[in-house]
């Protein structure tokens, strides 16, 4: 069969067959490869109807039966109707994927589809032989390329052209006005792969009216249409990244095999000759589908795997980023904390359980005249007697008072020790050791505070108090003694008036002493806990001394005075000097403001919250409205002022301060003319730590 000897009918048949083949392959290609993609699915629908048009047109060329040939040709043309509908709807779907279609565009599309559907009627009618669109067929298809054109066929062709132009216009709009690059590419792609092939195919109507049937134009156009269409499909699939070389290769191989066998079947002279090829074709189709499916399955799985691994990779990257971020944060946090530690005004040395220096801050370095490079990582015992390390060695070997052992975490701080170092400068330091336990790591923090200044202040304050005590008390003592001697009559007996004057002078001198004592106490306690010295002890001796100290005064005044301590009162933590001041103040007040014949009692007992001290008198009492202000500095009750014009108003202020510094409480119950009770409760340990 030489190419040049082909008749126009042969050329037409080959072109129809070829197009069917291309479209069938495209259909299978799209369905097997990209059925999940809605655009690919619609593209496949188009390929299906296009393929059917060409299949029936091809069948027309293969029969000599005029009636059957006409039926084939009518059915072939009738498939143009769903093809046009699919084309219009496809355009709209593609367009709407990127931007919403306006109402006019939609209305035109629906109108075109409706008109399209109307053309089904004349086609159906033509099958019954009415010849509205498809005219008569008088010669065999081998001679007559097409049936005669029916009187209305020209309208259908016109409508087809309008529909294709509409579709082209929609895609053109997408290409030129698409917002995204992807939309514009899609528009251009559709024009190239769909609109142009369909338009060129319209040239196929030429022979119906006697054009292009006798030359190779039709053949050329046909062969042009196929590759353009195939190119478009391939390009579309590439754009959609549906391309997989193994799958494509398999498909091309299978489809080529099918095509080859298909043409062998067609070209076989008899059915008997064709039977082996038909069997082979069936087998190839079945096996081919299985092969394609299995490859597709594998590809899908691999794609899934790639997707999962890509996700994993992303996740991993995110995780790594997060870890890096967190590590950075932790590092920042560490620097932050280290900066704080470094700049603390307290020297810190961290010792491991093996007494090795783990770290040291700059305050400790400066204070002890060492550098961290010299000492970290070294054992405390290794210092020897070197001068440069003597302060460090002294600080680390300082044994704080009242060390305690406990398994609790953090371990409680031991007491502090104070010592004087001479290197690199003479400083007084306070050393405190804080054992700690972090998981399995045990160690100790040695805190070193420079108390040189505090000590200097303390010394100068003590010096001041010493001088004040001496300078103020000495002359008053002299006065009192003068009055004593005069009163005693050793220097000659005094008459009644003289004696009265001397006695009141002595009383004033005594008040003066009390005032000076109060001032000294205020000065001493004004530094709050600065110089409180807590120690565990027995309160008995203090009460004893108060009893002895006031026995004389009380007797002189005619007031019954008792001071008792319950037997079950335990030893507890207090500052003896300050508690002594407290007891003296309370008892002194009680006796002072109780008239002759009254009673004053001091009792110490064990209470739920610790130790209870109460001082009760049957004195003048304190007015209710004044009770709140009792503990204010320099406050004096109106009644008290009436009774004694002098008095510093400091006694209860001092008392309250002592109670506060012991973390205790003081309350007063008083009724005018009946008496007053001051109740003090002191905790067993003013630091509030359980024993």
């Amino acid at each position: 069969m030489s190419f040049l000897n082909l008749t126009p009918a042969d050329i037409q048949a080959i072109s129809f067959g070829f197009l069917f083949f291309v479209l069938a392959i495209a259909f299978f290609f799209l369905v097997t490869t990209a059925y999940r993609d809605p655009i690919a699915r619609r593209y496949a629908t188009l390929a299906l109807f296009g393929g059917l048009i060409n299949l029936f047109a091809f069948l027309y060329s293969t029969t000599d039966d005029l009636w059957l040939a006409l039926l084939y040709r009518t059915v072939s043309q009738a498939f143009s109707i769903p093809f046009i509908a699919a084309l219009i709807l496809f355009s709209i779907v593609v367009y709407e994927k990127f931007k919403p279609a306006n109402k006019v565009m939609r209305d035109i599309a629906y109108a075109l589809v409706a008109i399209d559907a109307l053309f089904l009627l004349p086609f159906l009618s033509d099958i019954t032989g009415t010849n509205y669109l498809i005219g008569k067929l008088t010669e065999s298809p081998a001679i007559q390329l097409t049936p005669e054109a029916g009187p209305y066929l020209i309208y259908f062709i016109g409508f087809f052209v309008v529909a294709v132009l509409f579709s082209f216009f929609v895609m053109f709009l997408l290409w030129r006005t698409g917002k995204s690059k992807e939309a514009r590419i899609m528009g251009l792609l559709m024009i190239l792969a769909l609109e142009i092939p369909v338009m060129t195919r319209l040239a196929g109507y030429g022979p119906w009216y006697g054009y292009g049937a006798n030359d190779y134009v039709s053949l050329f156009v046909t062969f042009l249409t196929g590759p353009i269409f195939a190119f478009g499909v391939t390009y579309a699939i590439l754009r959609h990244q549906l391309f997989n070389i193994r799958l494509i290769a398999t498909q091309v191989f299978i489809f080529a095999l099918w095509g080859l066998l298909f043409f062998r079947v067609l070209l076989a002279p008899t059915l008997t000759d064709a039977l082996p090829d038909i069997a082979l074709l069936v087998a190839t189709i079945v096996l081919g589908i299985f092969l394609i499916r299995s490859v597709l399955h594998e590809v899908t799985q691999r794609e899934e795997l790639e997707r999962v691994s890509a996700n994993l990779r992303d996740l991993n990257e995110t995780l790594e980023e997060k870890v890096a971020e967190r590590t950075g944060e932790l590092a920042d946090e560490k620097i932050h904390v280290e900066t704080i530690i470094e700049n603390l005004p307290v020297g810190i040395i961290e010792l491991s359980a093996g007494e090795v220096i783990e770290r040291i801050n700059s305050t400790a370095e400066i204070l002890l005249g060492i550098t961290r490079e010299e000492v970290t990582g070294k054992k405390v015992a290794e210092w020897g007697k070197e001068k440069a390390y003597q302060s460090l060695a002294a600080a680390l070997s300082a044994k704080p008072k009242e060390e305690r052992e406990s398994a609790a975490e953090p371990l409680p701080a031991s007491g502090s020790a104070e010592l004087t170092i001479t290197y690199p400068h003479e400083r007084e330091i306070q050393v405190q050791r804080l054992p700690f336990k972090l998981g399995t790591r045990k160690g100790e923090l040695v805190l070193i505070r420079d108390v040189t200044r505090e000590k200097a202040i303390e010394r100068s304050k003590n010096e001041f108090i010493t001088i004040a005590a001496h300078q103020l008390r000495t002359p008053v003592s002299g006065l009192r003694w003068v009055f004593n001697i005069l009163r005693s009559g050793e220097l000659g007996k005094l008459n009644k008036d003289q004696k009265e004057v001397v006695e009141s002078g002595d009383a004033r001198a005594a008040e003066m002493v009390q005032l000076v004592n109060d001032f000294l106490n205020v000065a001493r306690i004004s530094d709050e806990r600065f110089d409180y010295q807590f120690s565990k002890g027995d309160i008995h001796p203090l009460v004893e001394s108060v009893r002895n100290g006031f026995a004389g005064v009380a007797e002189q005044k005619g007031v019954k005075f008792s001071a008792t301590v319950d037997a079950d009162v335990p030893e507890f933590m207090f500052d003896p000097e300050k508690i002594s001041i407290l007891l003296n103040n309370l008892v002194d007040n009680a006796i002072k403001y109780t008239q002759k014949g009254g009673m004053v009692s001091l009792s110490v007992s064990k209470e739920k919250g610790g130790i209870g001290i109460s001082v009760t008198d049957s004195g003048i009492g304190i007015p209710k409205e004044e009770q709140k202000r009792l503990f204010e500095k320099f406050f004096r009750s109106r009644k008290a002022t009436q009774m004694f014009t002098d008095g510093s108003g400091l006694g209860l202020f001092i008392t309250k301060s002592v109670v506060d510094n012991h973390n205790g409480t003081i309350v007063v119950h008083s009724e005018e003319g009946v008496g007053t009770t001051f109740s003090v409760t002191l905790p067993l340990n003013p630091n509030g730590k359980p024993e």
């Binding site: 003590n462 108090i465 010493t466 005590a469 001496h470 008390r473 000495t474 002359p475 008053v476 003592s477 002299g478 009192r480 003694w481 003068v482 004593n484 001697i485 005693s488 050793e490 002493v513 000076v516 004592n517 000294l520 001493r524 010295q533 003896p576 000097e577």
Partner: protein, 143 residues
């Protein structure tokens, strides 16, 4: 033989020392008086009083130093020392006690009679506690 007890009063304030001397002198004691720490130490070189009444704040050598020297002298260390001062801080009391003072009296809170009472109780305690010492002293006195 009832001998008059010797008392050394170390006191720089003229009014106070006058009053003390007057009071003690009238109470059958033989009283020596030193105005400074140096004077006190000088007196103690040749004398061994039965009681020392010691002020703390003195010009020059202070009372604590005198107390320390007394207590470190094998001859003098048995003499009871009563500190009679106007200092009254815990630290002062502790220091006095540490150095070996028998009593720490605060002038401003005492009458002269209290001082005399304390001296008497110290002396009687001394004679009870140390009969041997008293005996040897009596022996020496009679000799």
């Amino acid at each position: 033989m009832a001998s008059r007890n010797n008392i050394l009063v170390v006191e720089d304030d003229k009014l106070l020392s006058d009053l003390l001397l007057r009071k003690l002198g009238g109470s059958s004691y033989y009283v020596m008086h030193a105005r400074t720490g140096e004077e006190a130490l000088e007196i103690l070189k040749d004398n061994k009083p039965d009681v020392i009444l010691l002020d703390i704040l003195l010009p020059g050598v202070d009372g604590f130093e005198v107390l320390r020297q007394v207590k470190s002298s094998p001859i003098l260390k048995q003499i009871p020392v009563i500190v009679l001062s106007n200092l009254g801080q815990e630290s002062d009391l502790e220091k006095g006690k540490e150095l070996g003072a028998k009593k720490f009296l605060i002038k401003a809170t005492l009458t002269l009679d209290d001082v005399v009472r304390t001296i008497e109780s110290e002396l009687s305690a001394q004679s009870e506690e140390m009969p041997a010492e008293t005996d040897s002293k009596a022996l020496r006195d009679s000799a």
